[in-house]
């Protein structure tokens, strides 16, 4: 195993990482290539993660979780992402949805959501729409009050775990006349009449993760399904994104570490001019830069997680972390393909998949362009 020298792990963290590594290496890794090819993850593979409790790592014990810190949870998801980030993100999305219901909703809502997930269920966040990506205020999905119920209508797109979930946190306009202040969040059961799973997205990477459209057609939910007060949905979504940004960054570190591991191994074995290519300075420079970016990214993620553990919202820090790490991941995985040469471009070798997997990290949870806007806006406020 490669030593990640940048972090000082506790004995407990080392034990947990060893456990997750053993499971992922033996039970998941052998099936990743074919699942990537097919564009779906077999349910049996997810069972390993559920049995271990990977969907409830950071969830407090009173809700049935393991009660880990954000810091330790992130380390575990980095480890899992080394084997497959699409597999990891299916669990991350689930716990982030539950975590936000616990944060913004009532105790009863938190328990209800946790009980749906605890036995081995996925959850999803239904926010994005075909015309509302970086600009959620433009969403068209509506929630109309009808007695003690709300009637939900609309189409959501790019929903991670869309077809797998037992329960969603859905975002709908309760006041369509206003912008983001008109958005409210609701807990919606996947089997509620009127909820349909739409087209499955045939993605470039993260192909073990399930991404679909979701259609809400006159779905009736009790008014008690609203999370937080009416109009607070946008705030909930932003908080959720702050949290998930740091977690996608940890998975990008996992992808980078895997790219580095594979590249060093290959550069030591591959000989040209009777010399292992790791002895050539231009290859050395690439490997060194890959290591620098991976270690720096890991430290940045770790610090962001520690801030979150202390209650910080990490609006700016989460944006910095996600942007820096996902930009680094592009370079690191691209260079991994470069070091492998022609073989790197072949699906026979693992690195082209890493390059495909990591592209979306610059796009989802807010594009890196939007992140830079956020960072600059916060700077503007901070220096005023």
């Amino acid at each position: 195993m490669v030593n990640n020298m940048s972090l000082l792990y506790t004995e407990e963290q080392k034990e947990l990482l060893a456990l997750v590594r053993e499971m992922a290496e033996h039970e998941i890794k052998p099936f990743v290539q074919s699942a990537d090819e097919k564009g779906e993850c077999p349910k049996e593979l997810f069972k390993w993660g559920f049995d271990m409790g990977l969907h409830m790592l950071e969830i407090p014990e009173e809700y049935g979780g393991a009660g880990l810190s954000y810091e330790t949870t992130a380390m575990i998801f980095e480890e899992l992402a080394k084997v497959d980030a699409g597999y990891a993100i299916s669990f991350v999305t689930t716990f982030v949805a539950l975590r936000n219901v616990i944060l913004a909703g009532s105790k009863e809502q938190g328990r209800y959501f946790a009980e749906k997930i605890a036995p081995g269920g996925f959850a999803a966040f239904a926010l994005t729409e075909p015309n509302a990506g970086s600009d959620p205020a433009a969403m068209r999905a509506t929630a109309v009050s009808d007695g003690d119920e709300y009637i939900l209508n609309g189409t959501k797109t790019f929903i991670t775990n869309g077809a797998l979930s037992d329960v969603f946190v859905g975002f709908f306009k309760t006041d369509p006349a206003t912008g983001h202040r008109g958005i409210s969040a609701f807990i919606v059961d996947a089997d509620a009449p009127g909820v349909t799973v739409g087209a499955h997205e045939n993605k470039m990477g993260l192909r073990l993760s399930n991404t679909t459209d979701l259609i809400f057609d006159n779905v009736r939910v009790n008014a008690s399904a609203m999370v937080g007060p009416a109009g607070s949905g946008f705030k909930l979504a932003l908080n959720a994104l702050n949290l998930s940004r740091a977690f996608v960054a940890t998975m990008a570190v996992g992808i980078m570490q895997r790219a580095l591991d594979e590249s060093v191994k290959y550069a030591k074995e591959r000989k040209q001019f009777n010399t292992p290519i790791i002895k050539f300075q231009m290859v050395q420079q690439m490997l060194a830069d890959m290591a620098i970016k991976t270690e720096a990214s890991r430290c940045l993620v770790n610090n962001t997680m520690k801030m979150m553990d202390r209650g910080s919202l990490v609006q700016k820090e989460g944006a910095i972390c996600k942007t820096f790490v996902s930009d680094c991941a592009q370079e690191v995985t691209s260079n991994a393909v470069q070091i492998f040469g022609g073989y790197g471009y072949s699906k026979e070798y693992p690195v082209e998949k890493l390059m495909r997997d990591c592209k979306v990290f610059q796009i989802f949870e807010g594009t890196n362009q939007i992140q830079r806007m956020t960072i600059a806006n916060v700077l503007d406020r901070e220096y005023s």
């Binding site: 407990e12 947990l16 456990l19």
Partner: protein
């Protein structure tokens, strides 16, 4: 149902190297693990508990560092762990070890099912667990594939060279598990955390006042090792090549006939 599983900490390698001067195993630089067959035995015990209820107790004899494998067993689902350790137990061979373990089990008992691996990957004797059955006067079934309980009897499938034996017997029984018995489960994150903080109970000589001390330790061990050595490799393997599987098989067949193996 009261189930006890005997586990051993072993070096993580199947290629044991022996110090030619001291005649002992070279353990430097080799991490320690739970003997893999003992893990199968633990899984058998946990499945019995899952199916019929009860309690799984794990027991290991060894130095303080053997607590690591007991903690691992707790993380997989064992309920209670005991480390049997005392200077007086040092140097025990399989006879003495099985005697000490049987006395410790007797102290903790009564037990319905005692489980162990078919052998440890370091010593490879396969003697300790069956000998525990002798000391406790329990039925002994080695190389079991699975165990079902029916009333006060158990029905076990045993792996034998010719195939499988199905045996029905009364309790208590000692069974040894093989790699084919099952696929051991992984720990859960929650159990792993709990196991790191769990208390491991210690059993020393003082806890076994009725045990016969002449059957313990180096002096109580009838086995005398005269010499240990790593056998010299006398011939290298041969790779048979050919254009088709049929051609390769034919070449292999001819070579076996030539060597008078067939």
């Amino acid at each position: 149902m009261n189930i006890v599983v005997c586990i051993k900490q072993v070096p993580d390698t199947t290629e044991i190297k022996i110090d030619p001067i001291k005649n002992t195993l070279i353990r430097t630089g080799v991490p320690s693990i739970m003997n893999p067959f003992d893990k199968n035995a633990l899984e058998t015990g946990l499945q019995l508990k899952d199916n019929y209820g009860g309690k799984v107790t794990v027991i290991s004899m060894g130095p303080a560092q053997a607590q690591a494998v007991l903690r691992e067993a707790l993380s997989m689902g064992a309920d209670k762990a005991y480390l049997v350790t005392d200077r007086a137990f040092g140097g025990s061979d399989t006879y003495a070890t099985s005697y000490i373990l049987s006395q410790a089990i007797k102290k903790l008992g009564p037990f319905d099912v005692i489980l162990g691996g078919k052998q440890a990957i370091d010593g490879d004797t396969g003697q300790t667990a069956p000998s525990i059955a002798e000391h406790l006067n329990a039925v002994r079934l080695t190389h079991i594939l699975d165990v079902k309980v029916s009333g006060d009897k158990i029905i076990a499938r045993r792996q034998v060279e010719e195939g499988t034996e199905v045996i029905e017997t009364s309790l208590p029984v000692l069974c040894t598990a093989t790699k084919e018995s099952n696929k051991p489960r992984y720990a859960t994150i929650k159990r792993k955390i709990a196991s790191l903080k769990a208390e491991i109970s210690i059993i020393t000589l003082a806890d076994l006042p009725h045990a016969d001390t002449t059957k313990m330790g180096l002096k109580g061990s009838p086995t005398k090792v005269r010499k240990t050595f790593t056998p010299q490799r006398t011939a290298n393997g041969v790779t048979i090549e050919g254009s088709s599987p049929a051609e390769i098989a034919e070449t292999l067949l001819n070579k076996l006939v030539e060597a008078k193996i067939l």
